[in-house]
């Protein structure tokens, strides 16, 4: 989870697209949710 936190919004967005995870824009109130969803997906 740590390294996901270090990603830029753009990099996080690219990963969400790459793994076809439903998402919207990454803003302050959505970033944590998307980091968690990516983490779940990767593990």
């Amino acid at each position: 989870m740590e390294d996901l936190k270090n990603l830029s919004d753009h990099e996080l967005l690219d990963l969400l697209k790459k793994y076809d995870i439903p998402h919207g824009p990454i803003v302050e109130t959505t970033r944590q949710l998307y980091e968690k969803k990516l983490q779940n997906y990767l593990t």
């Binding site: 439903p22 998402h23 919207g24 109130t29 959505t30 944590q32 949710l33 969803k37």
Partner: protein, 74 residues
């Protein structure tokens, strides 16, 4: 839907507090307020920014205030 929800949608949400939302009682309302989601329209904003995706929104609500599936469903 619940009477609370019918009351809510019967008029413009305006400046209604987050607790006016169906499924959001005192405990969940307080947790949401503590995270800046004190008004119903701010929660609507979050729903829109999650692209109106119900599953994403329910997951966000669970993570943010501990809503269970019934509460987030409401």
């Amino acid at each position: 839907t619940s009477q609370k929800h019918r009351d809510f949608v019967a008029e413009p949400m305006g400046e209604k507090a987050v607790g006016a939302l169906a499924g959001i009682g005192d405990v969940l309302g307080k947790r949401l307020e503590d995270k800046g989601f004190d008004k119903a329209y701010v929660v609507l904003g979050q729903f829109l920014i999650l692209r109106k995706d119900e599953e994403l929104f329910k997951e966000w609500l669970k993570d943010t205030c501990g809503a269970n599936s019934k509460q987030s469903g409401d």
